[in-house]
Symmetry: C2
Amino acid sequence: MHTSKTRHNRRATSYDVAKLAGVSQSAVSRVYKDGASASPAMRKRVLEAAEEVGYRPNAIARGLITQRSNMVGVIISRMTNLNYPEVLVELTRAFSERGIRVLLFTIERESETAAVLDQLLQYQVDGVVTAAMLTNDQLKMLEGARIPAVFFNRSPKDGTVSAVRCDQEEGERWLVRQLVESGHRNIAIITGPEDSAVSLERTRGAISQLSDLGIQNPLVMTGDYSYESGRQCCRQMLAMPQKPDAIIAANDMMAIGCIDEARERYDLLIPDDISIVGFDGIGPSSFAAYQLTTVQQPVERMTKATVSMLIERIEDSSVSPEERVFAGHRIAGNSARLN
Amino acid sequence: MHTSKTRHNRRATSYDVAKLAGVSQSAVSRVYKDGASASPAMRKRVLEAAEEVGYRPNAIARGLITQRSNMVGVIISRMTNLNYPEVLVELTRAFSERGIRVLLFTIERESETAAVLDQLLQYQVDGVVTAAMLTNDQLKMLEGARIPAVFFNRSPKDGTVSAVRCDQEEGERWLVRQLVESGHRNIAIITGPEDSAVSLERTRGAISQLSDLGIQNPLVMTGDYSYESGRQCCRQMLAMPQKPDAIIAANDMMAIGCIDEARERYDLLIPDDISIVGFDGIGPSSFAAYQLTTVQQPVERMTKATVSMLIERIEDSSVSPEERVFAGHRIAGNSARLN
DNA sequence: AGATTTCTTGAATCCGAATGCACAATTGCT
DNA sequence: AGCAATTGTGCATTCGGATTCAAGAAATCT
């Protein structure tokens, strides 16, 4: 008693199905192609045969001949805001709804992008979403290979690429205005890692708005986006002779760290004794214990935009780059003393 | 002035390189294959030619002939504990160190697994890591296609598959012992969604240990792993005539929700008025505001084990399935009144 | 030097599906 | 019925690299 599934080891191919159904291989292929002509009778025979041997078109072989892998590469650097899991899930979902698979690359240091790019090219991805910075050379490489790319939350100065991002600067400016308008004057800033484009923009927005409102040279410390670094920076800031009356953290995670540190170590009340604001709108930012005043990135809209932009450019390589900027959702919260 | 990169559009192939280097295509192929014989002189010529035209081996074509795509599929259901981002990052990293790419699939409902499986087969992945449950039929399908699979944190009753998991039951039993030994008697349980294998195990562990210690029929409510559902369940529990003196939440996120609800709405002190424990050891569990008593999954060790098990089975399909169970890391925390 | 082994290398073939082309079968029309 | 227009189907070829085989070149041995 042996199952006649396939030649007892190999996976069933279109030839196997063809033989069983008594038709040609091309016929089988046509049955699985949408617009192709195939009589109902044959289609039925083929599908039955396919069912019997458990046939599935080989996407690899198909990709080879059609020059389309139906895969996109997604590059995410580990630190890039910790709201990235949500981004990743949304991206994957949106792509798969459009019949596209996601090849995932996570990097920790910028130096790894080179290797990742290499892999992407080898795997003939149809497009790339990158939430990591690329050098100009790397960009050129993608262009040379005619692989469209969409930058997520970062756009290279050389503005010839498609990008989707949240308006970090404006969001940060809003936060600053809230703080200043409600009387804060001694405002300190905790940035993200120095190589984070997002952090750069946020910090720039904050400093420039402060300056516009007449506050120069705010205290700036460098964090790494982590909870622990938020705590550390906060500790140091509060140990200074001239304590800040507000802290702007480059992301929510550090803001939460600040709150915990201020409360636990310095016994301060938030926001009565000190105001703390973040950025991102991650889940924990709305925990009752924090109720962060923050700017939430419209992740779902951003990912949808990313996906449709990328697909558009995959399907028509002549469409010119576009940059879509989304305003963040302003959350008043309860971690800053407003008005 | 035209770059002679490639035939002005197509990506360079091994034939292009061969022509430019004045050798055969097979020679080029050999240069890129590790063990193959190629004289230093030829290798040099080929590599120079390759560099000039920007040649990269086409992984798709290679996969077609070698029957190895060097891709594995990773299936993660959205809700499966919220510690999954960490899992995903670690998995991706460990795989890429071994030269394997990750094709990502996220699902929201169990019904989607069928479609995902289909895709996995089409893309000829070499193996599968699944953090979602599969039906027996689906398992058979994978076996039939000779695609090794490793289950992450769930093992089908039919114990013929490889699996890596954290010992949920024992972890939960430990939590229960801590609670009971320190005098808690009226212990309530919040489970995860009913179709979550992890939740099932945790709940079973808790109930069985309670029973072993003489506590029968604890109050059980069903949550969905989310912060909000933790809050809701907690609210209802505390509104009951016989309030629990301890709540066991099936994951940290719900435990945090409970704490917030107990504090904010009922003005209770944690752990003086009520003890609350979770499971997972996610980042927020150690925030100063929560300091959860919980069991942390050894994510890094688990993912490493997963990767090496899967690769082992990919490389030698005859190795028999194995199940590796890791004990969770017990964190005493501060959200439960112990001793 | 001659015989033998080891290395290099190219020609031909293969992987599995898609597709242009030509011919066959069906349909539509007068 | 007779001819044109429309489908339906198979043959042969293609995608890009890996691999087998055999022949030629070089190295080793006696």
